[in-house]
């Protein structure tokens, strides 16, 4: 475990309006940096399901690592523009083999999205820049692998196990 206070480069940015957060506000907050193409992130998603944690999701989409990393992150942001970020987030992690464009269109249809707007938004430079900036902020804060959880001042790389989740939920 690395402690944020040990780092001089940059702390993780505080939550703002661009963050996607779910869970009871009374529950402990965990920020997760993750990538929709990463199997270990899908495992983290599975393990965090049902935990009494308030989870904020941030993109850690390394373009050179997987050709779909940035496109899927942008697609989730585009769904978020129509109030369906978490629904597409869950669908992408729970059905990781279906991540090509036709699969995204099918997800969009299932979620009742305005497909034309979804298509326009997910290719927009603004969303690409948002994903890029979240990724870079994570890198500057010491995130090196996906998934990485940040809880308080602790940086916790790797999928959380039951013991860690129990510790985080208090």
């Amino acid at each position: 475990m690395i402690d944020v206070s040990d780092l001089r480069s940059a702390p993780p940015p505080p939550l703002d309006a661009s963050d996607h957060v779910r869970g009871d506000t009374a529950w402990p907050l965990v920020v997760i940096y993750a990538d929709f193409t990463c199997p270990r992130c899908a495992l983290a998603h599975e393990r965090l399901r049902g935990a009494q944690l308030r989870v904020a999701f941030r993109h850690f989409a390394i373009a050179a690592k997987h050709p779909r990393a940035v496109p899927l992150a942008c697609a989730a942001e585009a769904a978020g523009g129509q109030g369906r970020f978490w629904e597409l987030h869950d669908a992408l992690f729970e059905d990781p083999a279906r991540s090509d464009d036709p699969h995204l269109w099918a997800h969009a249809q299932t979620l009742g999205l305005d497909l034309e707007r979804f298509e326009r938004d997910r290719r927009s430079p603004e969303l690409r820049e948002r994903v890029r900036e979240q990724t870079r902020a994570g890198i500057r804060a010491g995130v090196a692998v996906t998934p990485t959880l940040i809880a308080g001042s602790a940086i916790l790389p790797g999928p959380p196990d039951a013991e860690l989740i129990a510790r985080l939920t208090g």
């Binding site: 001089r8 480069s9 690592k65 890198i139 010491g142 090196a144």
Partner: protein, 151 residues
């Protein structure tokens, strides 16, 4: 063996570039260099490490730093690795004699390969900052930003 410490002039060394030309300690003069010692081309952690640094390479460049990736792999293997990753970082081979430069920098593993380590060398040819990663750890790019603050 431990990584060369800050304040130490870089030792004389000779590495091989992708085109077969030599790269020596004199090539570090006049600029800030980040030497990224990594164990094995194509290994999962090395893949992740170099793709991670690629994501913020422009920020390193803005800070006047040039990255070099160094391993005991042959230059042909490094060239294939670089192409596979789409990496812009120049690869330097410590293959012949194998590990001689890694040994000079204190990062040669007993197994004959490079330990994962970062060394920042100032324009004066003196080590400004160094970090040897524990086995299995991927040193984040934030460490390089921290290290550059020391230059």
């Amino acid at each position: 063996m431990s990584v060369i410490e800050a304040g130490t002039p870089v030792p004389e060394f000779s590495l091989t570039r992708a085109d077969g030309e030599k790269f020596t300690h004199t090539d570090l003069r006049g600029k800030t260099s980040v030497l990224v010692f990594y164990p094995f081309a194509f290994s999962p952690t090395c893949n992740d490490q170099l793709t991670l640094y690629e994501e913020v390479l422009d920020e390193f460049t803005q800070r006047g730093a040039t990255l070099y990736a160094i391993s005991t792999d042959a230059r042909w293997s490094q060239a294939a690795f670089k192409e596979k990753l789409g990496s812009s970082v120049e690869q330097l081979s410590d293959f012949e004699p194998k590990g001689a430069t890694a040994k000079a920098f204190g990062v040669l593993n007993d197994g004959g390969f490079t330990q994962r380590a970062l060394v920042i060398v100032g324009p004066d040819g003196v080590v400004k900052w160094s970090y040897q990663a524990p086995s299995g750890e991927l040193p984040g790019a934030n460490l390089i930003f921290d290290g550059l603050d020391a230059v």
